[in-house]
Symmetry: C2
Subunit: 349 residues, 2 copies
């Protein structure tokens, strides 16, 4: 299957001597392609969430290293300057695992570099490779996930796991794209995903670009989709998967999964194998980050809540493995005994 038709949206794309970023803070109201020429611009773009989504951030970081090499190639202390720039990139968002992983690969190349000119080429080649690998993994996961979906199904997805969050195509949204291309999907529902509205702002927009039939729903309407037989699958990404299959993902995922299970719909988690944390025993050991209460006190910039009201704003929830039917990675699909299956995939590196 050729997925070129789904290549319209690119979160991060290299130019001749610059990096293009689609400013995700402005979507969908404004489509602005940023043209970055220095590593410190990349740092700012990552820190200010102009680029978001773990794989997309990692790719931006890898190209940020390339921009640093270009910038400092003529300096006599290029090695020192580039190293400092890479460390700033690495810390642009401290909790983003993919960012550290990508920049660390460039740091290793820096250590072995003989001159600045060859470093520029090595950084560019490595960044291109990270980007290409991510896209290929997404295509593969899309194909594997789509095989599980019966003809004529409708699906619910949550948050944004598409081209905007990755090198392209997406993880969970990649499965939606692949299944749609194969004629398996009748309708896709995108949940708004409060408080940041990634579903409303980003996923609905991406699906529109690809002319995939889709409807936006309130987060609270997910359960009705399953109880009324309107949706047959919940398809979501993952921020972290414990070795027993318990999956941390954007807040709201767990509610959809409970409802899906209650009414006999199925739950698919789609994520690169790097998301599986074999050092993490189960969901109970995953720390749930809380963010500022302010995010719940206004909506689209309009204050909706009285002064003095408190909020509780967890970013993730953990869906226990027994509510999940399939975990799809680029190394293969696990169904049933997740502990055994994930361990097996881990040994096929």
């Amino acid at each position: 299957m050729d997925y070129a038709q789904f290549d319209r949206v690119r979160a991060v794309a290299p130019g001749t001597h610059f990096l293009e970023l689609l400013d995700q803070r402005l979507l969908p109201g404004q489509i602005l392609q940023l043209r970055l020429t220095t590593a410190s611009q990349v740092v700012d773009a990552i820190a200010s969430l102009q680029v978001r989504g773990a794989p997309a951030i990692g790719i931006a970081g890898a190209y940020g290293a390339w921009l640093a090499a270009l910038e400092f190639a003529e300096h006599s202390d290029w090695r020192t300057q580039v190293r400092a720039a890479l460390l700033r990139l690495r810390n642009a968002r401290p909790t983003a695992v993919n960012l550290a992983w990508a920049v660390d690969q460039q740091l290793a190349l820096l250590d072995g570099a003989v001159d600045a000119a060859s470093l520029v080429n090595a950084f560019k080649a490595k960044a291109d490779q990270i980007r290409a690998d991510d896209l290929a993994a997404n295509h593969l996961m899309g194909r594997l996930g789509a095989e599980l979906i019966a003809q004529g199904s409708s699906v619910l997805t949550h948050c944004n796991t598409g081209s905007l969050a990755t090198a392209g195509f997406g993880t969970a949204l990649g499965v939606v794209r692949a299944a749609f291309a194969e004629g398996r999907i009748k309708e896709t529902y995108a949940a708004e995903t409060r408080p940041w509205l990634q579903g409303a702002r980003l996923t609905a927009w991406e699906l529109l670009q690809d002319a995939i039939p889709a409807r936006l729903v309130a987060d609270g309407a997910g359960a009705l989709l399953f109880s009324s037989g309107r949706a047959h699958w919940l398809i979501v990404g993952a921020d972290r998967i414990a070795r027993n299959g318990d999956t941390a993902n954007k807040i709201g995922t767990l509610a959809h999964a409970c409802a899906a299970k209650q009414f006999g719909a199925k739950v698919m988690v789609v994520a690169p194998f790097s998301t599986v944390d074999m050092d993490c025993k189960d969901g109970a050991s995953i720390h749930i980050e809380e963010r500022s209460e302010d995010e719940l006190l206004s909506y689209g910039g309009v204050r909706t809540v009285a002064e003095g009201v408190r909020a509780f704003n967890p970013v993730f929830d953990v869906t226990p493995a027994h509510l999940i039917d399939a975990i799809v990675t680029e190394r293969g699909v696990v169904q049933g005994d997740f502990s055994r299956g994930l361990k097996l995939l881990g040994s096929t590196a």
Copy 2:
């Protein structure tokens, strides 16, 4: 137990020759007491959602009849004028059962009225009675519901079922108030309730007025409250209860109920017995109203979604009886066999 401490917020309250309404469209940003002197002002207030919540609308309608009698008492054709005003009131929101029920009681008094002066008094007395009965029923339901809640519990509620939706105290929120007064509740969580945000705008505000410790959460965070043991009860109102206990309520209720059941928390439905529709066999026969897609596409005039995106916007969902632990009415509490229990309560009219 004296509940006077919870009497700060009044959605509808009669004055000497006027009716006071708290404009709910402006809350919580602005607290505006409307002073209405004619029935047609009441019609406008109901139609424009300045007053909302089925019991509150019914009470407003009953006092609207009183204002009509005051207005037309000196007219020679007072009977004709008042009847026409009452029919306009009755149709201000065609689907509001409580409104028709309240206005019909005034229409019956009109038929028996001998002169306009006595009609004014009769309408006022009837409206006062409807309001007092509603408040008394809420106090009673509060007491009955609170008995089910163990000391030190925390609860999640959805939408607005408080003083703003009723004569005062509220239904589900009345149980929260009563249980709080008895020292049973540690923390109350209010779900935002997209798309109208009644939880964020109204419930959080009401709880703040009463100094009941509360936190606002995204609708999607309800499940985490139950999975993490932060909440032990889901307490909600009802728009319609089938004779088998299946309960239609504001969209988002079902998702919370599925999660509560999954993690061993309990589900309480609180509603006056008039909400039980003995002609309705089960949830499958309850029609789910859909509202305009626009409600999901923007907020407060700020467009959040790309042009061309479609939405699916159901207003209610149906929670099956087997997910519900208790239905609390002013006639008593039903647990277990809802078909039998509701039938029994129905025969105690």
